[in-house]
């Protein structure tokens, strides 16, 4: 038995040691609005718009960490109480019924942000506030606020520096908290925030280059503030044309940014990211589109060899053969496991039952039992 588990563990670790071969199993999104105050209404609207989009494209609420530094909806200055709009036509209320804000107000700090990324929480932090990603996760990290050269301001009080971000990402990579990470930043001089990134499998996109400002898109003269930033506005415009089944690539998203409309130059950092952008669908990050695996029986997970093969069809051939063997071993292990894996309590009950059935004269057994009990009682009382 022990040997068997050891073999199983070995197989597992071997299977996952080559990180790239991990299957993309889930999607997470961390959406951060870092600025307070009424005149930064647009940053909250940006973040809520992204929240709505990724939710629409299939990331469930429990896999979205939404951080909003201020509550514009309930600000006394808001002409539309409890509503937030990202367009002056006021057609879409972003702050509807189903908005789950995980970190709000003064909870949005650099410390909490880094804790979310690295997963070092205090024990009392509920699961809903944690980024419970694993090595199969694709994570979208969206940040907006006021930034500068290699920093992003949090709450007008602190700064997240590019070193901090790079460090957090490195820790995440080492802890296998993601398979691929996409960082999207809409601030002034956003590109500078990525300068220190080194970890592989990270794709970064920023709204502006060093020395450039990111501008707001338009002013809502009823609310009296700018309601959305240009970069986010055109990102949303791109996604509004998509639905969950579309196959648009990241490349097409990146090409959709027009520096003239943006009034700044969108910047992509792709040197840490290996796949070809033209072949990666945007839904890899902005949605949660999984391959559905048809199985014959309900509980037999991992048993379908054909579907696994299908997923791995894009891999190089030499890897494939190796992988196949591994999988065979895996499957065998699984079968062994299912045989042995019966609850010990149930087993005992079953054994007992069988023995009982073998007995013929139940009455004598009962009488004997009572006699024995009496004896035991007598002995124990005399002893006391």
């Amino acid at each position: 038995m022990k040997v068997l588990t050891l073999v199983m563990l070995l197989c597992y670790s071997f299977a996952f040691s080559s990180g790239d071969t991990t299957i993309h199993t889930n999607n997470w999104a961390v959406l951060v609005c870092t600025s307070r105050f009424w005149f930064n209404y647009r940053h909250m609207a940006n973040t809520l718009s992204l929240y709505r989009t990724v939710k629409r494209l299939g990331i469930p609420d429990e896999r979205i960490i939404l951080m909003l530094a201020d509550d514009m909806a309930c600000n006394a200055r808001n002409e539309y109480p409890a509503q937030v709009f990202n367009n002056e036509n006021h057609k879409l209320n972003l702050y509807g019924d189903n908005v789950e804000v995980d970190y709000r107000g003064y909870e949005v700090t650099v410390e909490n942000f880094l804790r979310v990324l690295t997963g070092r929480h205090e024990n009392a932090v509920p699961r809903s506030k944690r980024l419970l990603s694993d090595e199969g996760s694709h994570i979208l990290l969206y940040m907006t606020g006021h930034g500068g050269d290699e920093f992003l301001k949090f709450q007008d009080a602190e700064e997240l520096q590019s070193h901090d971000l790079a460090d957090a990402v490195k820790q995440m990579k080492e802890k296998r908290r993601f398979k691929e990470l996409m960082i999207m930043v809409d601030t002034c001089q956003a590109a500078t925030l990525f300068n220190q990134l080194q970890s592989p499998d990270v794709l970064a996109i920023g709204s502006s280059l060093k020395g450039e400002n990111s501008y707001s898109h338009h002013l809502d003269s009823d609310v009296g503030v700018s309601v959305v930033d240009r970069f986010t506005y055109y990102t949303l415009a791109f996604f509004e044309r998509l639905n969950i089944y579309d196959n648009a690539s990241l490349n097409s998203l990146f090409r959709s940014y027009d520096p003239k409309l943006l009034m700044s130059t969108a910047y992509y950092r792709t040197d840490l990211y290996q796949p070809h952008l033209a072949e990666v669908p945007v839904t890899n990050f902005f949605g949660s589109v999984m391959e559905t695996l048809h199985t014959d029986s309900v509980y037999k997970a991992f048993s379908s060899k054909t579907s696994n093969n299908k997923i791995n069809s894009e891999m190089p051939l030499n890897q494939l053969s190796e992988h196949d063997e591994l999988q065979k071993a895996n499957i065998q292990n699984d079968e062994l496991k299912t045989e042995k894996q019966k609850c010990p309590y149930t087993q005992m009950r079953v054994d007992l039952h069988k023995k009982l059935e073998k007995l013929e004269n139940v009455d004598t057994v009962v009488n004997l039992g009572i006699a024995v009990m009496l004896l035991v009682v007598m002995v124990s009382s005399s002893l006391l």
């Binding site: 105050f37 009424w38 005149f39 309930c74 600000n75 006394a76 200055r77 808001n78 002409e79 539309y80 109480p81 002013l219 003269s221 009823d222 609310v223 009296g224 503030v225 700018s226």
Partner: protein
């Protein structure tokens, strides 16, 4: 001077013989150099100071909105015709009331109060005493007066303010914005009623909007008793509630006990006045900002109003200017010179475009002069001054419509634009999260959209006073030398105590100045009614007799004392100049404009002062000219004389004894408004002037 420097160097070489010669630090060398050539440098620096003052209009920068949160004009106006008709109706009702009734009573207040409560505001009335400000020497800088309620108040005369509060529907109630419209409830003019119309229009809108985060208070003050006093009385009550029930509350039909209501901290206040017809094609908006002691509201508040008035509502915005300067030819010539220099510089290098047209320069300097004058006077230019005493940013907006007050057709449009201007300003202030703090508090305006910040205008002052310490040092060295030569007794040669005699004299005269400053308080206590002229005569005679007594009892103080007792005039001048320097620097912190104007007068007087007798004896043109100059400067420097000259410049000639009365009234207004300028005149300017007089008649 050059010989003296050589002396110093020789001394150094002597003392250092044997040991390697230590070279003094560059800063010390520079100091020695400046002191050694002090006459040249004092002329250069003073001239540069005056020149810097003249080129200030060129250095003015365009104003800009510094606070991000303000966002003026970003929200669409929500005023509707219904709101305007509310305002028009109030004006019509008030006019009808005047047609059918005669003064007295509080009917108009009640009418306004009814309108306010119909709009959904909390309304209350406040009674106050119209008692004027009393001079009290201890109350300078002691913050806002606690107008003590007298027990034996008479119900004969009291004013009634009306105030309405709109609570912000979702606000936290911690802050408020105050709108003030002064109105004479007994014989209200037609123009004044228009200001009520505008505010009522706005109030009707604000009562139904959802975006308020601060409460709005509309205060209609009883301007029978001046613009300032009712506002000050309301503010006192607002900030320091009195728990003693005053008899005043029970006067008349209106019982106002326990009705005073408050909102949060006042974030900003706007005083609205409508008066006179605009002489321009557009409606004119004048902005008044100066509060007591030259304090200004935050520049952002002026910027917001100016931006909205010019770019949204099409008002012609102006700030006060000295009109007489606009036609002065010498200023025009200077402006033309600057224009030519600017053009020349631009041809040399296209990046140097500091030149402005001569007409702009003229406008700028006239405005700057007015700005300097109002700040230096230290008297608030409107009811907004009362708010500044509580550190509230406030300005007075005076709108002059281009139509006669009874024109119904134009009135609608006028109300709409006036109320939109106020709405925009209030919405901006409403967006604020903190007090105004981003923009400047220390500035001078050269036009509604141009300002000179403290960093720039201080240069002019610094250049002007820079010669004082240099000349003081050089005179001290000179005086010490003279004394050493005259007395060979080594015990009297304690170099460091040479200045003590002179300091005694300077201190005595400053003490005298202090007493003279306090005298008016005691003169006011003299029973019986006296005209200002008599009071000024009383003051003058007491002061001069005090001066004579000082001269008599302190030997060596008087310029008429024998030569033996008299101090060396150079040392005396040196100490005088030091005292003037300290006084001016202190004043520049309290009120820059006073210090600047004071320095313009005092610095040349102090620098030129020299004994007249040796000059007359020597009969040399140069020394005679110097003596003449110092006499002229001393004549101008006498406060009464300067007052008369400045009056003359403004076109009101006063001569003879009535001048004394005028001067007294002017001073009375200064101390009534607790202006630090009064203290400056009494405690810095007057003693220094007397000391210069002593030097002039010094028997050396």
């Amino acid at each position: 001077m050059a010989s003296e420097k050589r002396d110093k160097e020789e001394e150094e070489v002597k003392t250092d013989d044997g040991s390697p010669k230590i070279k003094p630090r560059p800063i010390v060398q520079l100091g020695i150099f400046l002191v050694a050539h002090s006459p040249v440098f004092s002329v250069v620096f003073s001239a540069a100071g005056v020149l810097a003052l003249l080129i200030l209009p060129l250095l003015a920068k365009n104003t800009y909105i510094s606070e991000n949160a303000l966002m003026p004009g970003s929200a669409r106006s929500m005023l509707s015709n219904r709101d305007v008709s509310d305002g028009s109706k109030l004006v019509k009702d008030i006019k009808n009331y005047w047609l059918n009734h005669e003064g007295q009573g509080v009917e108009v207040q009640k009418l306004i109060g009814k309108y306010m409560s119909d709009m959904g505001a909390e309304v209350y009335y406040q009674k106050f005493h119209p008692e004027g400000n009393q001079f009290h020497p201890l109350h300078f800088f002691s913050g806002p007066d606690s107008y003590t309620l007298l027990d034996n108040v008479s119900c004969a005369s009291y004013g009634v303010n009306v105030a309405g509060i709109i609570r912000a529907p979702r606000g936290d109630g911690k802050e408020s914005i105050v709108l003030v419209t002064p109105y004479d409830f007994i014989n209200g003019g037609d123009y004044e009623a228009l200001s009520l119309g505008i505010t009522s229009t706005l109030f009707s809108l604000l009562a139904r909007v959802t975006w308020l985060s601060k409460d709005i208070i509309w205060l209609v003050t009883d301007s029978r008793y001046g613009d300032y006093r009712p506002v000050a009385a309301w503010l006192t009550e607002y900030h320091s509630p009195s728990f003693k029930v005053s008899d005043l509350l029970k006067c008349g039909e209106l019982n106002t006990a326990d009705t005073f209501r408050r909102a949060g901290t006042v974030a900003a206040a706007l005083v609205l006045k409508v008066d006179g017809r605009s002489e321009r094609f557009e409606d004119t908006l004048s902005i008044y900002a100066e509060a007591s002691n030259g304090q200004m509201p935050n520049l952002d508040l002026i910027n917001v109003v100016n931006y909205l008035a010019v770019h949204r509502q099409g008002f012609y915005v102006k700030v006060e200017k000295v009109v007489s300067l606009l036609s002065s030819s010498w200023l025009k010539i200077i402006g033309e010179i600057f224009e030519a220099v600017g053009k020349l510089a631009r041809t040399l290098n296209p990046d140097w475009n500091f030149g402005i047209p001569a007409a702009d320069y003229l406008e700028g300097s006239a405005t700057l002069a007015s700005s300097l004058y109002s700040q230096a006077l230290g008297i608030p230019t409107g009811p907004h001054g009362a708010f500044r005493d509580y550190q509230v940013d406030a300005i007075t907006l005076k709108i002059s419509p281009r139509f006669p007050p009874d024109s119904k057709t134009r009135q609608h449009d006028f109300f709409l634009r006036g109320a939109r201007l106020l709405e925009g300003t209030i919405r901006s202030v409403n967006n604020l999260l903190e007090k105004f703090h981003q923009s400047f508090f220390l500035y001078l305006l050269t036009s509604p959209s141009k300002f000179i910040s403290v960093g720039v205008y201080m240069i002019a002052f610094a250049l002007l006073v820079a010669p004082l310490p240099m000349v003081a040092a050089s005179l001290y060295i000179e005086g010490c030398k003279a004394l050493t030569k005259s007395t060979d007794n080594p015990t009297e040669n304690l170099k460091s105590w040479k200045w003590l005699d002179a300091a005694k004299q300077v201190f005595a005269l400053h003490l005298l100045g202090f007493i003279v400053t306090l005298l008016p308080y005691f003169i006011c206590q003299v029973p019986g009614q006296h005209s200002p002229r008599n009071r000024s005569i009383m003051w003058g005679t007491t002061s001069s007799s005090l001066l004579l007594i000082t001269f008599a009892i302190i030997p060596g103080c008087s310029p008429f004392s024998s030569r033996h007792h008299g101090t060396n005039w150079a040392v005396l001048k040196s100490v005088t100049i030091s005292a003037a320097f300290i006084g001016l620097c202190l004043m520049s912190i309290i009120n820059f404009a006073t210090a600047e104007i004071g320095a313009l007068l005092l610095v040349p007087t102090c620098l030129m002062a020299q004994p007249i007798k040796p000059a007359l004896r020597s009969r040399r043109i140069k020394s005679l000219l110097g003596a003449f100059c110092s006499m002229v400067l001393l004549t101008i420097g006498f406060p009464v004389m300067f007052f008369a000259i400045s009056k003359g410049l403004f076109g009101e000639a006063v001569v003879g004894l009535s001048l004394g009365g005028e001067f007294w009234t002017w001073l009375e207004s200064l101390w009534a408004w607790k202006s630090a300028t009064y203290l400056y005149i009494g405690m810095v300017h007057l003693p220094c002037w007397l000391l210069c007089l002593c030097i002039l008649f010094h028997p050396s």
